[in-house]
């Protein structure tokens, strides 16, 4: 995989995650007990042997640089400059759905120059697709088809929330004949673009050059209008995919993790999901703890009842607490005799003694980072 460079794009429509993205870019939204969203695409890259990776950031870069460092936790080497954090997010918002900003590429010409000598193919990925992808399989398909572009899709996707995404019409031979914006189309079942594509690096360079002149800055649009002259193929992925771009989809994706099958696919695969390691002690359960069907990260103290929930690193759950169907992020402190149902508690939230917090499955209650309730 030496001739591939990977780029994780800065999803422009990140604001649907409400207060979760007010202090951080969507890349670093905490997920699954110890991860950040970007860990999934980044691990997918690394697991396929890609060692030139650019991550397009935003002006809210602190949590991103803090999380990634030089990439050593993803097995990336600072010596060989495997990981670059790129400028990003200066572009204006493009419509409602996740799309790809060509301006972000143009702003990082220095990166493209650096990788030019050794790169023939570029793998683009969203930062918010939860999946454990077989990138090598996609690449083989891309080579075999002699394609200019291969877009990965999840077939027969049933949209279970407001998000509709980019839909693809795919021929039997795999060719893509139409790219649709499904927020307009309102289809029930469709082929959802999974947020990952291979593209020839020379083609992307041409597109960047054209875009500087034409001002057409959405890569999806450019591909759609050039489908006739380019070899654009769709690769049908198997397995689990969830794109996180709304509070509801975040909550759903979290709850799906409790499904042993999905857990197995994401975490027990030979392709590991990497994240920043931390020196937490093992999680301590006391005499009164009652935990069922939950994911618990290290460094936590569990003294109460936790059901169908995700508990992040260093959270403290006091005695007499009942937590159900909730996401409790890192460093939260839940004091005695509180009840928390269908909630998402961002980092460092403190819930004081005796409080009750309840959302619904359809509208989970989000508590902002650092709040004291």
């Amino acid at each position: 995989m030496k001739k591939i460079a990977g780029i994780i794009i800065n999803c422009p429509n990140q604001n649907n995650l409400e207060a979760m993205t007010s202090h951080r870019s969507i890349h670093t939204v905490p997920f699954g007990g110890k991860y950040r969203l970007i860990d999934f695409p980044l691990s997918n890259f690394v697991n396929s042997g890609i060692r030139k990776i650019g991550v397009i950031g935003s002006y809210k870069y602190r949590s991103l640089t803090d999380h990634l460092g030089s990439g050593e936790d993803w097995n990336l080497s600072s010596k060989s400059n495997d990981l670059s954090i790129l400028h990003g997010g200066k572009n204006k918002k493009i419509g409602e759905i996740t799309r790809i900003s060509i301006q972000d590429f143009i702003d990082n010409k220095a990166f493209f120059r650096k990788i030019a000598e050794t790169t023939e193919h570029i793998l683009l990925s969203n930062c918010n697709s939860i999946a454990n992808m077989d990138v090598e399989g996609i690449f083989d398909f891309y080579l075999e088809k002699k394609a200019d572009v291969v877009m990965v899709y999840k077939p027969n996707y049933t949209s279970d929330d407001l998000y509709k995404g980019v839909a693809l019409e795919v021929e039997r031979n795999g060719e893509i004949i139409k790219i649709l914006n499904n927020s307009n189309e309102n289809m029930d079942h469709f082929n959802l673009y999974a947020g990952m594509m291979f593209i020839k690096s020379t083609l992307l360079e041409d597109i960047m050059e054209d875009a500087e002149e034409s001002g057409e800055l959405d890569l999806i649009d450019v591909l759609q209008s050039n489908l006739d002259r380019l070899n654009v193929y769709g690769y049908q992925m198997e397995g689990y995919l969830k794109i996180v771009n709304s509070l509801k989809s975040y909550f759903d994706a979290s709850m799906y993790l409790l499904d042993p099958e999905i857990q197995k696919e994401l975490f027990y695969s030979k392709r590991k999901i990497y994240t920043k390691t931390k020196d937490n002690h093992p999680t301590k359960y006391n005499e009164k703890s009652k935990v069922k069907n939950s994911i618990i990260a290290s460094g936590a103290h569990i003294n109460g009842t936790v059901e169908n929930s995700i508990v992040f690193r260093e959270a403290t759950i006091a005695e007499g607490v009942v937590i159900r169907n909730s996401v409790i992020m890192q460093n939260c402190t839940i004091e005695k005799n509180t009840e928390i149902v269908n909630c998402i508690l961002d980092k460092y939230v403190k819930v004081t003694e005796g409080k009750v917090l309840k959302g619904t499955e359809d509208k989970p209650l989000l508590i902002k980072k650092d709040s004291v309730i």
């Binding site: 390691t277 999680t283 990260a297 290290s298």
Partner: protein
Amino acid sequence: MTDTKCIAMLLAGGQGSRLKKLTKDNAKPGVMFGGKYRIIDFSLSNCFHSDIFTIGVLIQYKPLILGRYIGNGSSWALDKIDQGIYILPPYADKEGERWYRGTAHAVYQNIEFIDMYDPEYVLVLSGDHIYKMDYSEMLDYAEEKDADLTVSVMEVDWKDASRFGIMNVDEDNKIIEFEEKPDDPKNNMASMGIYIFRWKTLRDALLRDEKKEDSVHDFGKNIIPMMLEENRNVYAFPFEGYWRDVGTIESYYEANMDLLREREDFDLYSKKMRVYSNNINSQPHYVGLYASINNSLICDGCMIEGTVNNSILSYDVKIGKNAIVKDSIIFSNAEIEDGAVVEKTIIGENMRIKKNKRIGNMDSDEITVVG
């Protein structure tokens, strides 16, 4: 960087045969402890927190696992430019090939290493102790006393005193006599096996000891008595707090269980002098629908469907449905299959306890070891 005032030499050499199967393929400091740790984590983390960034690890028995575990030292933030952790094995030179023949001989063989840093003091540590200690306080003490040798000591129960090296001191804590495992101890201040030597003095002592034919080249048996005999400034540094030598299965098991007792004198959970380790990237653990976990420590990657009580589970342990684990320590990647019962047992890495099998016994005095 600033000059290196003090470097550490960590004695990780011995076979540790009293830990039985736990040291079958592994040096003693490399044995797992408290779920996610290995014994050596405690000394190495202490070094980092004490601003001691250069550590030589002297090892000749089964160094593979420990060497890979230590890696570049970055786990303990000890991957500095020109400083860090250096594995120091036996080696050959023009004069020939020599194994380490005693704790002092191991340091003697690495005089060249120490001279590269030319430190004022050398801290000698054992790799099999569980404790949190800020060595910089001991170093300040050594400087204040202008000591050639400072020995860290702690009070032990009078009834245990005859199992330790006992230091008899004057009112200024100057050591006037050292008795190795005395039948009739004069006091209960026991050596913890932690020494700070003035390097100049130690270097000289090592060179002379090496030539003595009747010496076994051991710090406790030869070097310290020699320095006392020569009327060097040898001081005792009184340490208060939790400290355990985990050289036997019993002491190893008890020190693990101490973690579940939440002792105030040994707070693994506080961020103060946090114990670092080589963190494995494993997913958060999953607790199943019918699981029950009480008074236990659980590491990342575990999948628990059964009952875990008063136990410590390392990384990636699987506990099957209706399995029961009590008062036990399970090393990483072990599996306790459905319906199996494990009591008062240490289960080694990668072991598998078959369905409905019973291992160990709560009521027994013996600790079962499977490895």
